[in-house]
Chain length 140, copies 2
DNA sequence: TATTGTTATACTCTATAACTATA
DNA sequence: TATAGTTATAGAGTATAACAATA
């Protein structure tokens, strides 16, 4: 199997874990992804748009719906009156941590099917791939 | 960075490649995923449902829309009159191959940022992860 | 002028529940 | 009865284009 096909299948696996983990917690996968991005702190719409690979208008709707569920809120950006920052509510943080830990736990468990040395090699290789792609980091 | 977070970020990378590759070819990422699954031959609805992690009714709609674009078609299953098989049309095969090759090419290119030995180790580790997850194969 | 974000609109994706037809 | 697939419905996700407010 080509490496590309392996990566695509791995992606499907992770996506399915996200779908299941989100559903167990009563949110959509997109909302879960948003919540997880906000765990490390508030983020601007434009930056979220880049991280999630979404048009600004799509993000507006996603944030609206997630805010309606009481999980995130918009706060004014003191340095730019056009902008706002999105942050987790108290409830949103609970859900974000729970969803993240469940999904990460499941993935860590899968990784334990590899010997320790192979596992750390895998992490290093994936990290290098991400760097090569100049993929935006969650926290910057 | 934990291995789980690395895998999630890798997933985002692949998803973004899929989004871009699909768009360049005038289809949605979901339709692209469907087309790629059909490259190796016709597949039943129930099996597609499992591979794509979708409810049967969701799949019906996806197949409907993809068929309306002339990319797939339903054919009767000779062994079970309740069932149908989905297959690529001639045009669908062209699009499927093009989308697959573009995305796979981009991912292979990224993989070339790793030394050859590390690359093959990555493929082996990912394969083992997929086996550990008992993840459904594309072709069976 | 450029940037940040929203609104309006249309289409796509998805799940739930109820259904038909066949096994 | 169980399985394969569809229909009806409602909500969520997404992009495009046009817009308002601020930089």
């Amino acid at each position: 199997m080509k490496i590309a096909d392996a990566l695509v299948r791995l992606t499907h696996l992770v996506q399915h874990e996200f779908a299941d983990g989100s559903r167990r917690n009563g949110i959509t996968p997109q909302q879960a992804q948003l919540l997880c991005l906000l765990i490390d702190g508030r983020v601007r719409m434009t930056q979220l748009s880049r991280l999630l690979h979404l048009e600004k208008s799509s993000l507006t709707g996603l944030v609206d719906r997630t805010a309606q569920r009481g999980l995130v809120e918009r706060v004014a950006d003191s340095s730019d009156r056009r902008a706002c920052q999105i942050r987790l509510t108290r409830q949103g943080r609970q859900v974000a941590n729970k969803v993240h830990d469940e999904i990460a736990g499941r993935l860590e468990q899968l990784a334990r099917s590899l010997p320790l040395s192979e596992r750390s090699q895998l992490g290093a290789s994936v990290g290098q791939l991400l760097d090569a792609a100049a993929f935006p980091k969650t926290v910057e």
